[in-house]
């Protein structure tokens, strides 16, 4: 479908809703999308970009799983296999999960805090349009002589310095992604700090907004460090410096420290907005206020602080003083405390709630259960002496995929199901949604649960071949991966059907699509007008009760 059709379909023009006194309707044609400064347009662009990247990164994971279906080399050479593992990670992290969260923030933050747009709309346009260039640079390395980067997404020297002509393209792509992330996060932070509707005090902000505010600061604090580190790689390779070369007086382990000083907060950049999404969905379908709103905010802030002092748990086997190993072990374990607070609050929100199980709620509940499972394996990995056994094994692969796929990705999928009726004015097909959920939940566990056993039995990560004793679990894992990928087309169909009105879907939804939903975004029409809240809204009595009605919650318990 042509872009201008999508323009008409996704966002209603102003005349339909009478919210606007000016001629602010979207222009038509491709130039709308190139020149747009509208937060809803850019949110849509971010989400389409992210799902394109999820598809490309998913195809790479299928190459990996096809090769690992059986021991021995079947389909690809080891060099190409290593390029797939490296690019799969970079594409999924920087191209999939992060842009998806920025897209959700673009769409929802202004509507949730009652302002007309992000604080810096032109910067917003620039931040998005950097990304296609960054990923074109990164992915076109696959077609260069010598292929793409193959040293792992962590880019450890000296291995990464063996990369051929792809290295400067990789580094420039990382710079571009960093610029995009920093501009995006500055925009979100300034918007939240300066553009809130009257009466929307900080401790009344929806949890999704809070988690994004904290995520924005994590990005601002860590992205410059990553940019510095990869620039030092560039100068080591091409300008004769020896930052990370032992022969020249440098220290290769220093890169690992710098990388993970960025890398561990990055892990929380990938999960904090997911916490916000789950904290939004669960109260709606439990028809209760979020339990412990304040403690949720403090828990997120604590996790963000702790994320800066745990980085060396990624490097326990690299050779650190015992005091260092102990510090990083205990600081890592501390993260379980605020995370436990959050899990407790989600479960307690559901306790004695009038629960229904629409698709977004199913994904949110799966998130709570499966993310916690990934958290438990994280605690196992945090134990320094045990980590000497687990390091670089499939146990690590199982751990971080549990927190990232049924964690971050399930939250993104749940968020899209939850908000797409608001965005398009059309309801998705609930039966297809449930089919998609159950197939995804089953296949994702089939993919990653056996990898725990593979890792404990000693299978190394980042290898295209393995001992025959690992065959059975690898077969199950590969079947799971192909099944999971296949069923995502059900999701894509279901969402595109909402965008384009396939199957005769009507725009007949009320402003408050979900009866249990609270917040300013549910006070505007579905779909919302092109510009919302040009006049600051009056926050209605009880509209923000999803964040602050402990008294109501107590009354509910008395009634029950």
């Amino acid at each position: 479908m042509a872009h201008h059709d999508m323009a008409k379909d996704i966002t209603a023009d102003d005349h339909e809703h009478g919210h606007d006194h000016h001629d602010h309707g979207p222009p038509s044609g491709i130039m709308r999308w190139i020149k747009t400064t509208n937060h809803k347009d850019l949110g849509t662009l971010y989400l389409f970009f992210a799902f394109t990247m999820f598809f490309i990164g998913g195809l790479m994971s299928l190459v990996i799983r096809a090769e690992l279906f059986h021991p021995g080399l079947q389909f690809v050479q080891p060099e190409f296999f290593n390029q797939m593992t490296t690019l799969h990670a970079l594409v999924m992290i920087f191209g999939g999960v992060m842009p998806a969260f920025v897209g959700l923030a673009n769409w929802m933050v202004p509507m949730m805090i009652g302002c007309s747009d992000l604080a810096l709309p032109r910067v917003n346009n620039w931040g998005f349009w950097i990304l296609p260039f960054a990923f074109t640079l990164l992915l076109c390395t696959l077609f260069m002589p010598g292929g793409g980067p193959a040293g792992g997404w962590t880019m450890y020297p000296p291995l990464v310095l063996q990369t051929g002509n792809a290295l400067p393209l990789l580094i420039f792509a990382v710079h571009l992604m960093g610029i995009s992330s920093i501009t995006g996060s500055i925009n979100v932070a300034v918007t939240i700090l300066n553009m809130r509707a009257p009466g929307m005090t900080l401790l009344k902000l929806p949890l999704f907004v809070w988690t994004w505010l904290i995520t924005a600061y994590l990005l601002i604090a860590t992205m410059p460090v990553l940019a510095g580190a990869v620039t030092m790689l560039l100068t080591d390779k091409y300008f004769g410096t020896s930052f990370f070369s032992a022969a020249g007086g440098g220290d290769p382990v220093m890169f690992q420290h710098i990388f993970w000083f960025f890398g561990h907060p990055e892990v929380y950049i990938l999960i904090l907005p997911a916490f916000g999404i789950v904290s939004t969905i669960i109260p709606t379908f439990a028809r209760k206020a979020l339990f412990g709103y304040d403690s949720m905010v403090y828990a997120v802030a604590s996790i963000a602080f702790l994320s800066f002092i745990v980085w060396a748990h990624h490097m326990f086997t690299v050779g650190m003083p015992l005091a260092g190993e102990l510090f990083f072990m205990f600081s890592t374990m501390l993260i379980a405390v605020p995370t436990g607070v959050k899990v407790f609050n989600w479960v307690t929100t559901m306790w004695k709630g009038s629960m229904t199980f629409e698709t977004p709620m199913l994904f949110a509940i799966a998130f709570v259960f499966l993310f916690t499972l990934g958290g438990f394996s994280g605690l196992m990995l945090a134990i320094t002496p045990a980590d000497f056994q687990y390091q670089d094994s499939y146990f690590v692969v199982a751990h971080f995929h549990y927190v990232l796929v049924p964690g971050a990705v399930f939250a993104i999928i749940g968020a899209v199901y939850y908000w797409i009726p608001k965005w398009t004015g059309r309801m998705y097909n609930e039966t297809l949604g449930k089919v998609h959920f159950w197939a995804s939940a089953i296949f994702i566990n089939l993919t990653f649960f056996p990898q725990h056993f593979l890792g404990l039995a000693g299978m190394q990560r980042r290898v295209p071949d393995y001992n025959v004793m690992f065959t059975d679990f690898n077969v199950w894992s590969s079947i799971g991966a192909f099944g999971f990928f296949a069923f995502q087309f059900v999701f894509i169909y279901n969402m595109l059907a909402c965008c384009y009105g396939w199957g005769g879907r009507k725009r007949d939804l009320p402003a408050r699509v979900w009866e249990g939903a609270h917040g300013l975004e549910w006070t505007v029409a579905s779909p919302p007008p092109y510009h919302t809240f040009e006049d600051p809204p009056v926050i209605g009595e009880g509209e923000l009760t999803s964040v602050h009605d402990d008294e109501d919650a107590l009354d509910h318990h008395k009634l029950a």
């Binding site: 810096l120 709309p121 410059p224 460090v225 940019a227 030092m232 930052f243």
Partner: protein, 40 residues
Amino acid sequence: MGAMADIDPERKRRNVILAWVHVALAAAILAGFVYAQMHR
């Protein structure tokens, strides 16, 4: 003409100031990082 044209000039000015404060924060982190690397 975007929606931002309608917001009050004082808030717009604060937006720009806040944005530059954050850019300065990112630049300071980068500068601190470079300084630390040059003096270790």
